[in-house]
């Protein structure tokens, strides 16, 4: 049985400061809140026709979530609105008490998944203006993400060029479930633009591409839906590496957000083994896959693995690399990791400094 209570004293609330690499700002009452940022043509489209994704149900996720609003039950703002929609409550409940030095925003909107690409691109633009106006412009600890619709590559690149120089935006939000695996050549113009602006590709679990969530078909339960995120992230890593994206764009940084950690060493070992035997099929991969993974890809910690023996986490991080992990909370979502409790084992000051702050500074060039 997994026992995951603390094996040490909690971190002092006053001492620990963190760079939180996964915070979700949310529209207060749904897409209607984007109206001030939508062109009239798309505002009217929203009003008359509405959104449509690659699934039957336009207004729900692929599987109903565990808790309303996907959120901690205590995260509903007292003044009303969805969890994550009130900056003042977010400050009071999370940013201030948890010592958040910088918070990386991940707005999870439907823009990137629209089947009407022009409408999706308009929603993405509106999300970017909304972040700048109502979040990063209001609290200088926050950094936004350039929301794009990857399957309309032309629109995605245009949006990066439109707002990519704004230093309040620190990465590009690219959902890991796109029409093709993300290493596919059709997406390379996006990586070229990302590298040109020194913007990491932040892949937060999300997206609806019409394919089944797992390699084995459609799951029955949310617990399976939740676990399928691990499979998607493995597909993302293999695609980026084997298609040669990091050979073409050696400076490209990819951050995998909320996809778990335990699978990384296993995938790396297996990819290296197969590469030694089948390298000739993918000659663009000039070095063992593990080398690209350790140079170009980072991983956020939440929801952290909680092994039966908490010390096993130290072995896991040894295998992945202490420089690869970025602390994240996922506030205000239900599976939030509290910085004072997230690591059940004692870390050295140097390790804490790396995981809570240092690695994020190495990835994101727009902090401070």
């Amino acid at each position: 049985m997994s026992t995951t209570t603390l094996d040490r004293k909690p971190e002092s609330q006053t001492r620990l400061t963190v760079i939180d690499c996964d915070i979700h700002p949310t529209l207060r009452g749904g897409l209607d809140n984007l109206v001030p940022y939508l062109e009239t043509r798309w505002h009217e489209h929203l009003r008359i026709y509405g959104p449509l994704m690659h699934q039957a149900m336009a207004k729900t996720l692929s599987y109903p979530r565990m808790q309303p609003g996907l959120a901690r039950i205590d995260a509903w703002p007292p003044e009303g609105g969805a969890p994550g929609s009130s900056l003042s409550f977010m400050r009071r409940q999370h940013l201030d008490p948890n010592g958040v030095e910088f918070g990386m925003l991940q707005p999870l909107g439907p823009g990137p998944m629209q089947r009407n690409h022009d409408f999706g691109a308009a929603v993405c633009r509106a999300f970017n203006e909304w972040q700048l106006q109502e979040w990063t412009g209001e609290d200088n600890r926050l950094r936004g993400a350039v929301v794009i619709i990857p399957d309309d590559v032309e629109a995605a690149v245009a949006e990066i060029e439109r707002v990519g120089a704004n230093r309040q935006l620190a990465q590009i939000a690219f959902p890991p479930r796109t029409a093709d695996p993300p290493g596919s050549k059709r997406y390379w113009p996006i990586y070229e633009a990302a590298a040109a602006y020194d913007l990491p590709i932040g892949m937060h679990v999300s997206g609806f591409n019409g394919h089944t969530l797992t390699g084995g078909g459609w799951p029955s339960f949310y617990i399976e839906d939740h676990f399928s995120n691990v499979q998607v992230m493995q597909a993302v890593v293999t695609s980026f590496v084997l298609d040669g994206v990091f050979e073409r764009f050696p400076g490209l940084k990819v951050v995998l957000i909320e996809g778990g950690l335990g699978w990384i060493p296993a995938l790396t070992w297996r990819l290296d083994k197969h590469w030694a035997r089948m390298r000739g099929e993918v000659p663009q991969v000039k070095r063992p896959p593990s080398e690209y993974i350790k140079e170009n890809i980072w991983f956020t910690t939440q929801p952290i693995e909680e092994p039966e023996n908490p010390r096993d986490l130290l072995h896991l991080i040894d295998w992945i690399g202490w420089d690869r992990l970025l602390f994240s909370t996922d506030y205000p979502h239900w599976d939030f990791d509290d910085p004072k409790y997230v690591f059940k084992v004692r870390l050295t000051e140097a390790q804490k400094s790396q995981l809570f702050r240092g690695n994020a500074r190495a990835v994101y060039s727009r902090l401070g």
Binding site: T3, T5, P10, R72, D74, W334, F336, D337, V342
Partner: protein, 137 residues
């Protein structure tokens, strides 16, 4: 150990929780089938305010395809990660031997007895004709 009058008994109803502060510690008061229980308002897993979660039963299955609810109204489910705890014992469902929420003894006392008795920290008027919950801490 001192006795604290913490709430009127009628305020603590089945399926709900009333949160009070005793000696600076938040505790949740519960009514399970007419019996009263008190738990510390702090989840041992990751520190959430446990008693802000949902009061529920325990969904169980003896065999795939069969379902029943055990301990109806007898479990509290953490508002963050959904860990389930038995309100009567404070024990965690996933690891009852090792993980437990601190609990406190609660007694239901008649107002008439309290007015005369050795009780502490009354923050509200006690009526002779009503019943009250008394926590020992």
């Amino acid at each position: 150990m001192a006795k604290h009058v913490v709430a009127a008994a009628a305020e603590v109803i089945p399926g709900d929780v009333k949160i009070v502060t005793v000696n600076g510690r938040e505790i949740g008061l519960f009514n399970v089938g007419g019996a009263y229980f008190a738990l510390l308002n702090r989840c041992p897993h990751a520190g959430a305010s446990l008693c802000h979660g949902q009061v529920m039963g325990l969904a169980m299955s003896d065999d795939p395809g069969t379902y029943r609810i055990d301990r109806p109204g007898g479990m509290i489910r953490c508002p963050w990660h959904g860990w389930e705890f038995d309100i009567r014992t404070g024990q965690s469902w996933v690891d009852p031997e090792k993980i437990r929420v601190p609990r406190f003894a609660v007694a239901r006392e008649a107002g008439g007895d309290i007015v005369q008795g050795p009780y502490l920290a009354e923050t509200f008027p006690v009526m002779v004709e009503d019943d009250y919950l008394v926590v020992e801490m």
